[in-house]
Structures are given as structure tokens and as C-alpha cells.
Symmetry: C2
Subunit: 235 residues, 2 copies
DNA sequence: AAGTGGTCTAGACCACGGA
DNA sequence: CCGTGGTCTAGACCACTTC
């Protein structure tokens, strides 16, 4: 029992078990170092890991406190649609419906913070799973930021896949909701009347420049978003 | 430019800018230490932070590589419904509809891995925002794991709030989907016909014991789930 | 065998912030 | 002021993995 990872786990257990209660002050690094028979640096390394995980808050002189958590975090993944479908043994098909450079509607302009006269690349396409429409992708790509996109026809590879592979981003915003589909969505997704849709809207930025905004529409009857978090509490 | 955080940021920039490409091998710690005029330990600290963030993969002898990412992570928060509503200036109301100890239906038994003869605490309740139904909470609590729940009437405080404040958990599973409401949901949520609902189902575990399973149903017209991630790529 | 990361120690100095 | 965390250095040894 000497490595900082061991110590990290011991301290983690003390928090999880409630031995160290929420909001409580914990022993100082020096004390813990004595207790574990190691250097203060080693304890510090373990404590910093806990602090990075957001489980404790540390202040000089004031010491280290277990965080009082009112919210918990959980993660989800942004994956390539083709991979998701193929991974569960489905047959994937891609269809480009429309690709154009155009001035976006106001809503998109605002969302992506582009000026009124700026052209944005608009791509509308469909992802099929086993022959059935799975996702309608309605995407806007900022060609000022991502000029490479101008040369990409998106007839064989979807913007989803192309962007995820090539373009990094630093910030993202997601909106999830249920909705009644409009006529265009009913047609493309071959929806029965009354079937709702599950909508994801995502905008991503690289530093403070918008990269892309996308609206992903799925038939409610054949789509759900699933996440599994280990140590969800510890993110 | 000497602290490990500075070095971390410099290396981060090299990855973000593409100077260090995805999949590429990066300089060894010893080389970087020479370059930055510091100890190898300091470089190591910075590199470990990148590795923790999942941006690089490190192997002894093989060296450090920038990760080729096929998926990106993003986070969302599990908050107390009352806080969410009050935070945006809304008026919150809580209504307990039903509280009983009973044997759950098979679906819940399976989801929570409880045996067929085991009683589970079932709570059905409603959260209102500004007088309008906001969320129908249909919850099952494992009283073997959380025996304290037996003594809690849940007439003043919702299970959502009680659990989030008191009960830690280590694993969580979420399912999000759009659906057409059933009759009970239409009644409790005062839905107009044709209005879909946004459903979240969450099961949480403490180690490998199920803590609770909950189905949260929201009117689609007045609900959306929003997440904002800084450094979404770097989680 | 040799190169690379993983980690520890001992000692040091600094920075912050509560008393 | 002075206790607490934050970090660096120098040197060391180990563990893994490729060659």
C-alpha cells in the first residue's frame, strides 16, 4: 500500500463509504503522509486526482473538503452513425439529398454566430439501418473555419463521419427533445402519422469559432439514446 | 514557461493545431524535458494529464501517441428538478401520487436484478413548473440496498431530491427516447392528444447493487434537455 | 539489452488565505 | 504570521515492451 493510486483508492473508499462525509474537512497531506508512510508528494498526487474528478475541493491553508454535490455528471458518446449501426450487426446505407452553399436562416446564423451575408455549407442527408431510415442529418458547416469542407462532395462519406474523423472541437452544445415531425421529415423518414421523432441538435466550436450545427432527426419507434457510465459519480 | 500546466497547455495546442497529428508518435519525455529546460518528472505530469483526458496513449518503450478518436465524449448533469425549475425563475410544486411497497413488474425486476419475491418501494409523483405538469416521476427504490428509504414518506420531498442528496452511486444507465404517452401519462401530465413525450429512464447502482430505477416523463412541448460542454473533446 | 514511461524520495521554495 | 496546498529538482529504481 504505497503507490499514489493505492492511496487514491483508499481515499475514494473513505468518501464512498461515508467515512468522510460530504462537506467534511479531511486530514492534511502531511498527516496522511505519516499515516501511509510515504512522502507528502505522493499523497498530493492522489489528492489531486480526487480534486480533478471533482470529489474534493482544496484550498491553501483552509485544507481539503469533500464536495457537497447537488448534481451528478454522466457522459454520452458522439459516435459515427455508420459505426453504431454496423457495430450492432445492422446494414448501413448513406444517401446524400442535397449539398449547397447558401446563406442560412436567421436561427442558424444566430446559433453559429455568422454574419448575415456569410455563406455556409448546407448538407441534407439520410442514414439507413437495414434499409429503413434511421437518421435525417440536416447540417450547416462553417466554411470560413473549415475551408477543407468546400472540396468535399459528401456523396460517399457523410458529414457526420468526415467531421468526426478530421475536425477537432473544444466546445459543444446539445439539445435533446421529442417532437412531432414536419412534412419533410415525415417524407424522408417514411414515418407513419402520429409517430413522434427524437431530435438532437448539436453545435460545436473550435475555441470561439463555430464549426458546425446539426439537427439529427430519428423515428421514435426505432431509436433510443443509451448511455452507460461507470463511476458516473466520479466524473 | 516552466510549470507542468504550462507544458500541458503547450502540448495541448500542438494536438489541437494539428502540429501533432492523430496517431502520430510524439517526442519522448526526456527530449521534451530538454526542450523545456525542466525535469522529466514535470513533463511526465503534463503528459499524464493528457493521457487522463484520453488525448494520448502511452506505452513503455513504445512511447506516446496522439489518440485516433472515433468517438467524442460529452457530459450532461443529473440535477434536482426543483433546483432546475427555481434556477430559471419558475415556481415549483411537488405532488405525491402514490407510495407503496410492492413486487415490481418483470421489466423492473430484470432492470434492477432483484428476485421475484422481493418487495421494492414504488413512488409515483409529479413535478410542476409554474402550475403546469413538468415531469412525471415513476420510481422504484431497492429497499434492501437503501433501507433508509423505508422511513421516508416522500410527501414533502421528492425521491429525486432525497436520493440525489443522500445516496451515492457508482454506475448509471440512461435511456432517452421520444414516445407517445399512455393514458395514465396523458392524464397526469394534462397532455393534449398527439403531443409526444420525452422519456428518460435511469437505473443507478452502488457497486453492483441496484439503487433505483426511474422513468421520467415530460411533455415534449415544454421540455428539452440541454447540455453545454467546454473542452468536450477533452473529457 | 536497451529505451521508454511510472513512480518514489528528500528537500526545497513559493503562493495563498485564514487567524 | 504561519499552516496548507502547489510545484520543482535531482537522482533513483522499477516495469514493461520492443528490438
Amino acid at each position: 500500500m504505497r503507490s499514489y493510486k493505492d492511496i487514491h483508492n483508499i481515499l475514494l473508499d473513505r468518501i464512498k463509504s461515508g467515512e468522510w462525509k460530504q462537506g467534511a474537512l479531511v486530514s492534511s497531506e502531511a498527516d496522511l503522509a505519516r499515516e501511509f508512510g510515504c512522502t507528502r508528494v505522493t499523497v498530493n498526487r492522489a489528492m489531486q486526482a480526487l480534486a480533478d474528478a471533482g470529489l474534493v475541493e482544496r484550498k491553501r491553508k483552509a485544507g481539503t473538503r469533500v464536495v457537497q454535490r447537488m448534481t451528478r455528471n454522466a457522459q454520452f458518446q458522439i459516435a459515427i452513425v455508420r459505426h453504431e449501426i454496423e457495430q450492432r450487426g445492422g446494414h448501413y446505407k448513406y444517401l446524400l439529398i442535397c449539398r449547397e452553399e447558401t446563406k442560412p436562416p436567421q436561427k442558424i446564423q444566430a446559433e453559429m454566430s455568422v454574419s448575415a451575408d456569410q455563406s455556409v455549407l448546407h448538407v441534407l442527408c439520410l442514414h439507413f439501418a437495414d434499409g429503413k431510415p434511421h437518421q435525417l442529418e440536416d447540417r450547416w458547416i462553417n466554411i470560413d473555419t473549415i475551408s477543407r469542407a468546400r472540396a468535399e462532395p459528401f456523396d460517399m462519406i457523410s458529414p457526420n463521419e468526415w467531421l468526426l474523423q478530421q475536425i477537432p472541437y473544444t466546445n459543444a452544445e446539445h439539445v435533446f427533445r421529442a417532437a412531432q415531425p414536419d412534412d419533410q421529415e415525415i417524407e424522408h423518414l417514411q414515418l407513419s402519422r402520429d409517430e413522434p421523432v427524437f431530435v438532437i441538435e448539436r453545435t460545436t466550436w473550435l475555441s470561439d469559432q463555430a464549426v458546425t450545427h446539426v439537427r439529427l432527426v430519428h423515428p421514435a419507434n426505432s431509436f433510443q439514446l443509451v448511455t452507460r457510465d461507470q463511476h458516473a459519480d466520479l466524473l
